[in-house]
Amino acid sequence: MINFTQEAGFGLRRRKRAEARFQWAGRGAILISLAFLVIMFASIIGNGAGVIWQSQIAVTVDLSAEEIDPENIGDASFNSLVKKGLRDAFPEVEKRKEKKRLYGLVSTEAAFEVERQIQANPELLGGMQTLWVTASDDADLYISGQVDTDLPEVKRRVSDAEIAMLDKLLEEGLARETFNRGFFTNGDSREPEIAGILSSLMGSALTLLVCFALSFPLGIGAAIYLEEFAPKNRMSDLIEVNINNLAAVPSIVFGLLGLSIFLGYMGLPRSTPLVGGMVLALMTLPTIIIASRAALRSVPPSFKEAALALGATPVQAIFHHVLPVAMPGMLTGAIVGMAQALGETAPLLMIGMVAFIVDVPTSVLEPATALPVQIFLWADAPERAFTEKTAAAIIVLLTFLILMNLIAILLRRKLETRF
């Protein structure tokens, strides 16, 4: 007779140890991936957080009628007004090279900023006014404490003379750090201190809009037909295999396709969100079809059968009874697909969206770029101050990705019925 107690207990301790080992290994794996995530986030946030603050310098400019004609504000030379204001603040600066350094403390945008402040508020005219203008990127690096003053002068971006001038300004309260609104309201720029993400953010939004408008109805239509109506034969098997293959095709291939068909054959305008959205729609279509089919499959057949039994046509049964139940799953699939599309750069390279674009696009036919492209371009820029911008743009992109995924999860939690 078999002694079950003995047999069942055979090697029990060893087997339990193996189980514990496996569980610890699992916890270790999670811990390591979490640690990587934390390191990544910490370094990006550490690099990018500084973008919230922007340095400004106060310049006293002469806005009397001799300098500016109140009837014709645009005709005045604001550049020389700002330069004169700086020279008045530092009368001891005389040599040409030193003057160049002095003018370099403020951004090249300063003249435009003065003009805009006056246009918005003409009462400023008619006397001396102290106006705040954006500091240059190097001055900003010093004011925010990112310049190591212990290094010899030749190895620093900011010279001793510039440091002396900035220290004087800081002491007199003529230099300050304020909230950097420009980062969220400006387009791209070659000057790091005024470069913003609005143009690329709008570009991404318009591109995704086109992408969603094309891929969602098409994807759902294809999924419904394939899942519910298509005859099961060789042909439909072939289509199914190809859709699954398409989901794994590298995205650059879709870019090439877009280049030859949308730009070459159809003659659509280059660098526009319309073409970008069309290319990304091709890319997300398989994802949406696969997710939508899975959602349709998860609806119990009894729903459809009951509707058919009560006299509904197959189309009515699907659209009135199956589709509403499957919709949350389809939307989730679409949002995940959109999130993928949001992070894509490779296909955009081919259709000319990897570009320097200052103006904020307002329609899908205006040239635009996208958020990940902006990150790529800033990461490649030589100016040191762009490091901060790059990290900040990554934070913005990650925030949107997390938001989209969160919405997908919430939708699933809230609306999906389980059977």
Binding site: G352, F356, L365, P382
Partner: protein, 345 residues
């Protein structure tokens, strides 16, 4: 609106969008080199702000890619200007001509120095072009007319005065224009210091080129991608390694990296401008003459680019790291641009 009407409307809109002909542009379209990109965009931005014209769109496609797009046709749906970190090749001029692009205006805008740098620490290293060639070429001479696979693993094996550290150079991949220029100026420059190799150039040009331009693949030269900022970061982390990148990145990161002296000359602004520093290349852009007057603002954009305010010795492009041409060359080129005189090879 009934469902059918809606569908009809949607279809009409979609068809209209697809059938619409290429839309006339009101902004200049620029493509090309990623090295010229920072300069071209700076001018574009200023041009957009200071005139009533729309800000030109500048795409970063690489020199080769840019010229391919530029030469793909003469219509307004093709780029007006392409930037290049090398001169246009005769094969590209032919391609242009085949596609109806006949009158091209060439503009040389300045120089870009290529530096060999390491992390700050000890004094900068002094190298000759020959030493760079011996350190990085795939095959090196082992006697008159003989070559051998590169045997050097340490810098001091090449020259006892050099530091006793492993040869490890981070540089751009073969797709990069910087790499082409580095191979042509530094490696070939060092290669032809051997008399018998120089003699070979006349007899067997392709063998000469493959000997002088081929970079070793045994791990001493590490392809570190197109991003020069990344190379600077890696040099900071690895003080024994050297990196190959453009001068503007050295200028911006002078607290982190230092440029090696080549042939006794340091990579400094004035020395590159005077032509003393041996590894410097010219930067260009090319304009379609037929588009002048068709796409608004091209003439004004050219005038802005070639103004002393922009490309002069104290211009804003010099602040961005462009090394200006000499005074004479600048006025020559500005004259050519003004009269839109076509390219001659």
């Amino acid at each position: 609106m009934s469902v059918r009407l809606k569908t009809l409307a949607a279809t009409t809109v979609l068809t209209a969008a697809i059938a619409a002909p290429a839309i006339a542009r009101d902004q200049i379209n620029i493509v090309g080199s990623s090295t010229v990109f920072p300069f071209s965009t700076t001018v574009a931005e200023r041009f957009g702000k200071s005139t009533d014209f729309a800000t030109p769109i500048v795409e970063s496609t690489g020199s080769g890619g840019g010229l391919k797009l530029f030469c793909s046709g003469a219509g307004v749906d093709t780029p007006d200007i392409t930037n290049a970190s090398r001169r246009i090749k005769s094969s590209e001029v032919e391609l242009c001509a085949e596609n109806g692009v006949n009158d091209i205006v060439e503009v040389k805008i300045g120089f870009d120095g290529i530096v060999l740098a390491n992390a700050v620490g000890d004094a900068p290293v002094e190298l000759t072009l020959q030493e760079i060639f011996l350190a990085l070429a795939k095959d090196v001479p082992s006697g008159e007319g003989e070559t051998q696979p590169n045997p050097y693993t340490m810098w001091n094996e090449i020259n006892p005065d050099l530091p006793a550290v492993k040869i490890e150079v981070l540089g751009p991949p073969p797709t990069s224009g910087t790499r082409d220029a580095f191979a042509e100026l530094a490696l070939e420059g060092g290669c032809k210091t051997f008399d018998w190799i120089k003699a070979m150039k006349k007899e067997d040009k392709s063998a000469y080129k493959s000997l002088c331009h081929t970079v070793r693949e045994d791990g001493a030269y590490v392809e570190a991608g197109e991003n020069d900022n990344l190379i600077v970061q890696k040099l900071e982390a690895n003080p024994d390694a050297f990196g190959v990148f453009g001068y503007s990145f050295l200028e911006q990161n002078s607290d982190k990296v230092q440029g090696s002296l080549v042939g006794g000359v340091a990579p400094e602004f004035e020395l590159i401008a005077d032509g003393d520093y041996p590894i410097a290349r010219s930067l260009y852009f090319y304009v379609k003459k037929d588009h002048v007057g068709v796409v608004p603002g091209i003439e004004e954009f050219l005038a802005e680019f070639t103004s002393e305010d922009a490309w002069g010795e104290d211009g804003y492009l010099a602040d961005k790291g462009l090394i200006p041409l000499s005074d004479d060359e600048r006025s020559d080129w500005a004259e050519k641009v003004k009269s839109l005189s076509p390219l001659s090879m």
